[in-house]
Subunit: 196 residues, 2 copies
Amino acid sequence: MDKPANTLLNIHPIIKKRWSPRAFSAKAVDGRQLKRIFEAARWAPSSYNEQPWRFIVGRKGDATWDKLYECMVEFNQEWAGKAPVLLLAVGNTVSGKGKPNAVYQYDVGQSMAYITFQVETEEMVAHQMGGFSKEKAVALFDIPADHAPIAMMAIGYQDSPDVLKPDFADMERQPRVRKAMDELVFSDQFGKPASL
Amino acid sequence: MDKPANTLLNIHPIIKKRWSPRAFSAKAVDGRQLKRIFEAARWAPSSYNEQPWRFIVGRKGDATWDKLYECMVEFNQEWAGKAPVLLLAVGNTVSGKGKPNAVYQYDVGQSMAYITFQVETEEMVAHQMGGFSKEKAVALFDIPADHAPIAMMAIGYQDSPDVLKPDFADMERQPRVRKAMDELVFSDQFGKPASL
């Protein structure tokens, strides 16, 4: 099922087609594809080139996948159990100079966006999740105190909404919505729509 | 000057070619391009579709550009003064349910990454900055207390490094470097390189 951005503007086709389905097929993702996906993340920009992004990746059938699955809230387990790849994005909260990095979350977000871009290039789909136990993740993967789990992502090939439980299938078929440009892009002062 | 990612992996050409130059030409950016750039940001994913991203955009010659320029530290003013477009990314720190949004920075980072993709699609370049006064930005743009300035960006057409002051020109010609994949992508436990 395609669900392109509802826009008349000629944005990049990958940005237009990308969305976050929950219906994954069992088809495996090969190692070369995963390498390209993480290579895309690696070349994202970051403040002072700190590259605060770290990724823990599991492939279905391995112990890492099982532990990542265990971290998720039940709501996400119900649909993400079929995804061939699960990953956890972790941020280095400390800069190379030993000071707190105020923008580590922002930069990890950029690298994850680069992952979504490469995932779409590979004709696959990704769905990010905030619903997981950070405490479990820290314990299960021995994440050090100066690093913080931020978000999880399921990656794989898309399947029909029909493979989902009815509630998820309904969500899958909902239209995609976004705030209006006027609510997001300002000039002069905050809240005043820019005239572009 | 091109400075593609030093990789043998076949990542998306936009991700491969994108970097963050400081040499901008005076050539203006038209409104249709700006609309597409923000439309790309608008369709980024976010936690619970909160869309915490807000943008304040100035075009050279207008009062918003002048105020954004005034927010920058001197180091950035020295090179960004030629950029035809400056923007400030602001995050809504509160979710629609009135609770703190723990991932607003992460999601604003994703939307800014989508902006970099669209900027490259438009054959332009972008350079992000953390070096600016958040206090000045809050004061000059009346940014409300539940919103936080995060990062600035210069957007425009690239020029030769020769237009920069010598120190910046030297930086412009430095090779791009990244941490090795083994330092970033783990399985089993944090810090243990994944074998992909």
